[in-house]
Point group: C2
Chain length 114, copies 2
DNA sequence: CGCAATTCCTACTTTTTGGTAACTATGCCA
DNA sequence: TGGCATAGTTACCAAAAAGTAGGAATTGCG
């Protein structure tokens, strides 16, 4: 039997939740994943997520980029064009995210009875 | 093609994240799931999660109970005994949670490079 | 010149979340 | 009588997350 305390303190749940448990991260990943080209521009995401403010989207994307889940490609044009896409690491997270989504679809009715 | 906006506003990710994306919920579920008997008392969980305050644990358990993921059984003894366990709905969430955990174990090193 | 488009950034404020410490109730045990 | 244990609650405070509003940079277009 492993040392439960030590295992707990390095728990991956805590890391994942503290990094991606915010209001918008999973949603952005989901949008990028379901996009047909695999690529979305800043304002395309904004239009998909109308109630996410510009500031929060920018902040969320920066966080995901720092965490190497999202790749940011800048085209030096005017007006500027910036394209976002999932990295390999980002793509590897998607099965877990869609598992959560599927659970939500199937079971959330049992949860929201109040 | 479905109406992306409507689909988005009812998105299961938002519901799941807003209900269980807090600091302790997933961790409590995980602890209950891995317990051998499937049952844990309040102070047992506290001892497993030493850095979760009494208040937060109580609050988290109450939230999970309201959401029907956790069952709370009170034994009218002195001193009181209260046992917590996963409901069927709670158990149904576990594959998604462990998917997240497994992803964390495998990929978090790629993420924390700063 | 003035405005539009695009992708941000910054200051300020509000809301939400989490933490600390103290208090409750009950009965056993010395 | 005075702890001790269990499972909480409450009031208060600090920190973090999120929202609002405005600015900045670039260049083409009328």
């Amino acid at each position: 039997m492993a040392d439960i305390q030590a295992e707990y303190l390095a728990c991956p749940i805590r890391q994942v939740v503290s990094r991606f448990g915010d209001k918008w991260s999973m949603l952005v990943l989901f949008m990028l994943n379901r996009s047909e080209t695999g690529v979305l521009r800043f304002n395309e995401i904004r239009r998909l997520m109308t109630d996410c403010s510009q500031k929060m989207l920018s902040q969320t994307l920066k966080n995901l980029e720092r965490s190497h889940l999202v790749h940011r490609e800048v085209y030096p044009e005017v007006p500027p064009r910036v394209e976002y896409s999932l990295t390999d690491t980002g793509r590897s997270l998607m099965p877990a995210v869609t598992a959560l989504v599927d659970w939500g679809k199937e079971h959330f009715a049992e949860v929201v009875t109040d």
